[in-house]
């Protein structure tokens, strides 16, 4: 509980009272003295000013606590005066989660409340991926004269969880991302892949769908078609979540981290669909690691991870970060055959060095880079130029780069892929 403090709103009034009284004495007129008397009454009113203890019950209701991304969620805030005294002057500012933007109506309320009375206000927020917890509600209470003010905070637990489906974007040309390297490895071992390898005599237990029915029709023999066996690749999606990556071309745009997480979740789903083992890691102060695996459960785990892990929060981290330790830890965790898809806006040279080091340790690295640069100022133009140089640096080092501008990721991937094929 905080004590009230003087606002100094009425200070100086006593001076006016004295001047008026002096004028009355000098001129021997009653009117100025009466004005001074009115001022004294007012001073007495200000003097007795006090704000009673603020005991408020604050409730918050969401129209949907697990919305889809971009869905508009209506928030209803009800404030009830639980004390026995009237609160004449209440100004309430709700603690909207930092990552959410209010699209309709301020999250504020100003009212006077009798004991037991309730006031409500509603506002609308747009849901974005993540787990969003409301902060404390700030309450500013004043006495009726405004001479004393006190500030209180009331915490009401409210959480909104927005977990996008991991979209199965079938048209994502991701095969190119992994097939060039050892991943999605096409072995010479005949087995159950896609590419035709040979035909051998039918053995008991061979799957029916691999029987060569043409030959059976022609010759009456049973034979089994063998395909070249494909081994699943292991891919780890590394998302740059350092504070350097929390940048955006303008205030309303998605931040580079949000777009990186988007890219990672799209890639995750596509890679999983094509049979690869996929893992997730965050490169930032908040540690996050999901072992490469596959299957339905793994998809659910990843979905939750992308949505709610604090490392992927759209707000910049406060913690200190030691990048070289993080790189070493990441390296230890990567199996020797693991490929890396590094999602980073490339806003500094360190991101380049991370990609190059991982490549040097034998991991096939692909950098997917959302472009957060703008052109509004001299510095923004320089930043765009520097990012372009970093992209070239990476390409020169043999690392494949997907430069993702405003277009859909699939388009950026297709364009990048056509470049790699040459």
């Amino acid at each position: 509980m905080t004590r009230g403090f003087d606002t100094e709103r009425w200070s100086g009034l006593e001076g006016l009272v004295l001047v008026a009284a002096a004028a009355g004495v000098l001129t021997r007129e009653p009117a100025p003295l009466l004005l001074a008397g009115l001022g004294v009454v007012l001073l007495g009113y200000v003097r007795i000013a006090a704000v009673p203890e603020v005991t408020l019950e604050i409730e918050r209701e969401l129209s949907d606590s697990t919305p889809d991304p971009d869905e508009e969620v209506e928030v209803t805030l009800s404030v009830t005066n639980e004390s026995a005294r009237t609160l004449f002057d209440l100004r309430i500012v709700d603690g909207v989660p930092p990552a959410l933007a209010v699209v309709d109506g301020p999250a504020r309320l100003g009212t006077a409340l009798r004991p037991g009375a309730t006031a409500t206000t509603t506002y609308t927020v747009t849901a974005i991926r993540g787990e969003h917890t409301w902060d404390e509600t700030v309450v500013v209470a004043r006495d009726p004269s405004g001479a004393v003010e006190r500030r209180e905070t009331v915490l009401t637990e409210t959480t909104m969880r927005c977990e996008p489906e991991l979209a199965a974007t079938a048209d994502l040309p991701l095969r190119g991302l992994t097939s060039k390297y050892a991943g999605r490895v096409e072995t010479d071992v005949p087995g159950s892949g896609l590419e035709f390898a040979s035909i051998r005599e039918y053995r008991h237990g061979d799957p029916i769908r691999r029987i060569d029915w043409n030959r059976r029709a022609r010759t009456g023999e049973l034979a089994t078609v063998q395909f070249r066996e494909e081994r699943a690749a292991t891919v780890v999606l590394v998302v740059d979540t350092r504070s350097e990556a929390h940048v955006a071309p303008d205030a309303d745009a998605e931040t580079a981290v949000e777009r990186s997480v988007d890219a990672a979740s799209i890639a995750f789903s596509a890679l999983l669909d094509s049979g690869d083992r996929v893992g997730v890691a965050a490169f930032g102060p908040n540690e996050c690691w999901l072992d490469p695996s596959s299957g339905v459960d793994h998809r659910a785990r990843a979905r939750r991870l992308f949505a709610t892990h604090p490392a992927f929060a759209p707000t910049p981290p406060d913690e200190a970060f030691f990048p070289s330790i993080a790189v070493r830890r990441l390296r230890r965790r990567l199996s020797s055959d693991a490929q890396v898809i590094f999602c980073t806006p490339l806003t500094d040279d360190y991101a380049v060095s991370v990609a190059r080091r991982l490549e040097a340790y034998g991991h096939a690295v692909t950098v997917v880079s959302p472009d957060p640069t703008a052109t509004g100022t001299v510095g923004a133009r320089l930043a765009r130029l520097e990012r372009d140089l970093r992209l070239r640096d990476l390409r020169r080092a043999g690392i494949r780069v997907v430069d993702w501008g405003a277009e859909p990721l699939a388009v950026a991937l297709a364009r990048a892929e056509s470049g790699w094929k040459q």
């Binding site: 001076g15 002096a22 909207v96 990552a99 933007a101 506002y123």
Partner: protein, 207 residues
């Protein structure tokens, strides 16, 4: 403090009661001169004006409310350079900030010559030193080349009232942006391996 306050309260109550008594017609046998009245009024005025003056000096104290409605703000890439540029144009810390600006731009120019124009690092550094990397004499001179800037440009800058430093940084960045672009046009026909860098150009071209 409380003692003076209670004393003042006592005097106030006594004087007011006396005054009211006289108003009501009870004689207390007090006679006052004009001079005395004038002194009392003057004292009251001075004290009153002091109170008023004190208000002018005390700022109003109140809670400041934040802006939870807006999303947390993240910087635009390059904002650090912009603030450095502002620091370099103000008097304090001018030289340090200015050196950092030119160092950073020089490094980028060298890197651009290496990565976009296919030069060796040594060759690129030498080129920046001589100013041969660009047609823009202002940019060349800004990165330390010994070339003279035409009087007409200086005059125009003087008339336009633009900060000289900002104008020069602007031109230097523009000059670095064009590195490798002209030579590419010439070699585009025979050097197909370079088209792999095609989408990197998109970035530069937007700028």
């Amino acid at each position: 403090m409380t003692r003076t306050r209670s004393l003042a309260l006592l005097v106030g109550v006594a004087a007011t009661t006396g005054g009211l008594a006289i108003v009501a017609g009870i004689s207390l046998g007090i006679e006052l001169t004009d001079v005395f009245l004038g002194i009392v009024a003057a004292l009251a005025t001075i004290q009153g004006l002091r109170y008023v003056q004190r208000r002018r000096e005390t700022p109003v104290r109140t809670t400041t409310t934040g802006d939870p409605e807006v999303r947390v703000e993240v910087p635009v890439p390059g904002a650090d350079f912009d603030s450095e540029l502002v620091a370099a144009t103000t008097r304090q810390g001018q030289w340090g900030a200015r050196d950092r600006l030119t160092d950073r731009l020089e490094q980028r120019a060298v890197r651009a010559l290496v990565l976009r124009d296919g030069r060796t690092p040594e060759g690129a550094s030498a080129l920046v030193d001589t100013g041969g990397w660009t047609d823009d004499v202002v940019a060349a001179r800004f990165l330390g080349a010994d070339v003279s800037v035409p009087l007409s440009y200086r005059l125009r800058l003087f008339v336009s009232g633009q900060s000289r430093l900002v104008a020069r940084v602007d031109r230097t960045i523009a000059a670095i942006e064009t590195i490798g672009r002209d030579s590419r046009r010439e070699t585009a026909g025979r050097d197909t391996s370079r088209t792999a860098d095609g989408d990197a150009d998109r970035v530069g071209a937007q700028g």
